[in-house]
């Protein structure tokens, strides 16, 4: 779907539930009512043009909003800053907690899981490094590649004993993080004019 100012915000969330993670970075929490995107943005002083561009970019990998992001630098930078904070406070700890639980709940040691958790710890440093600058928004596709590698390790190469449900939870957490970082990188590219 393509989001416009007249789209009901709850329709966006119901069609693409993963977007909840992005909403919170604009200060919007659940219980959003029956309001349109325009009304929600007006009430909260959110730049609706940037808001819509972020939503559409998140929903559609091919969506291009380079002009919006490059001509609304302050609001875009504010979103990226909130995104950096969201990674360190929520998305990264979410993966870590699931990984820790997966390893702790295993009835025996599975060195593959430990190796993958260590690999995620390495990627975590890369992510935090990538988002650390508040002035220079540089895309880092290598981070996406590494998260893709981790997804392949779990989906294709995992062996031994493990809790299937917890392993799926780790996988979903990593896939969510990768999708979000893809959005971050694409917005950074727009700002940098790449």
């Amino acid at each position: 779907m393509i989001v416009t100012k007249d789209t009901k915000l709850h329709d966006v969330v119901i069609n693409e539930p993963a977007i909840i993670a992005v909403l919170s970075r604009f200060g919007i929490t659940l219980g959003i009512g029956d309001k349109s995107v325009r009304l929600v943005c007006d009430e909260r002083g959110i730049n609706a043009t940037v808001f819509i561009a972020v939503k559409n970019s998140f929903i559609n990998d091919e969506y291009v909003a380079a002009d919006v992001f490059s001509s609304n630098t302050a609001d875009t930078a504010s979103f990226l800053k909130n995104t950096a904070s969201y990674y360190s406070r929520f998305l990264i700890p979410n993966v870590e907690q699931h990984f820790n639980l997966l390893i702790r709940r295993n009835t025996a040691v599975n060195s593959n899981l430990e190796l993958m958790r260590n690999f995620f710890n390495e990627v975590k440093i890369d992510i935090l490094d990538m988002v650390s600058s508040e002035t220079n928004y540089a895309p880092c596709p290598a981070v996406e590649d590494k998260l893709g590698d981790l997804i392949s390790m779990i989906v294709i190469h995992l062996s031994g004993d493990y809790d299937v449900n917890l392993c799926q939870a780790v996988l979903f957490a990593i896939i969510g993080l990768k999708k979000d970082i893809n959005l971050y990188n694409r917005i950074c590219c727009c700002i940098a004019g790449k």
Binding site: V109, L113, F119, K146, D149, I156, H157, S159
Partner: protein
Amino acid sequence: MGSLNIAIITNNTLTYLGVKLLLRDIPSVAVCRIDGSSAFGDGNPDRFDVLITDVSTCIAHIDFFLPRRSKTMIIADTEIGDSSFAHIDTRWSVDALSGKLADFVELQQHSTSPQTELSQREIEVLTLVASGKINKEIADALQISINTVLTHRKNISAKLGIKSVSGLSVYAMMNGYLK
């Protein structure tokens, strides 16, 4: 789908007979015994789709089993330290043993490993990449051109779905190519 070749690799005749009995109700499998002290029979040991072995044989031939970890199941009678190998415990009930064996065999029947399996040369390249060697050093070590190294690296990444050097290192460790 053709029959699945299962090798029970052990010196212990009772272990062999017990596992064979547990496997008898699983359709489309061919079971054969290989002496644990031998070099895994004549010919190519990779003709087997599933390897079932005891702990002592696995430890004695760890270099053989580690790269074949995904298709190996260990028979243990105590807690084993590293369960990145699938295992069964002789203290389990018959139902638990049969169930775990059947699940493992079914997994191998649906395995797509032939598409992701690396050639011997690719394993050599992977091991050197994972050790931190640059393309020139790999080319020199294997006496091949840099272009050939690049082709191997491209094929390895395509087969494994892993692009980064650190990701390849983790994969190499997971599969016993790098210790």
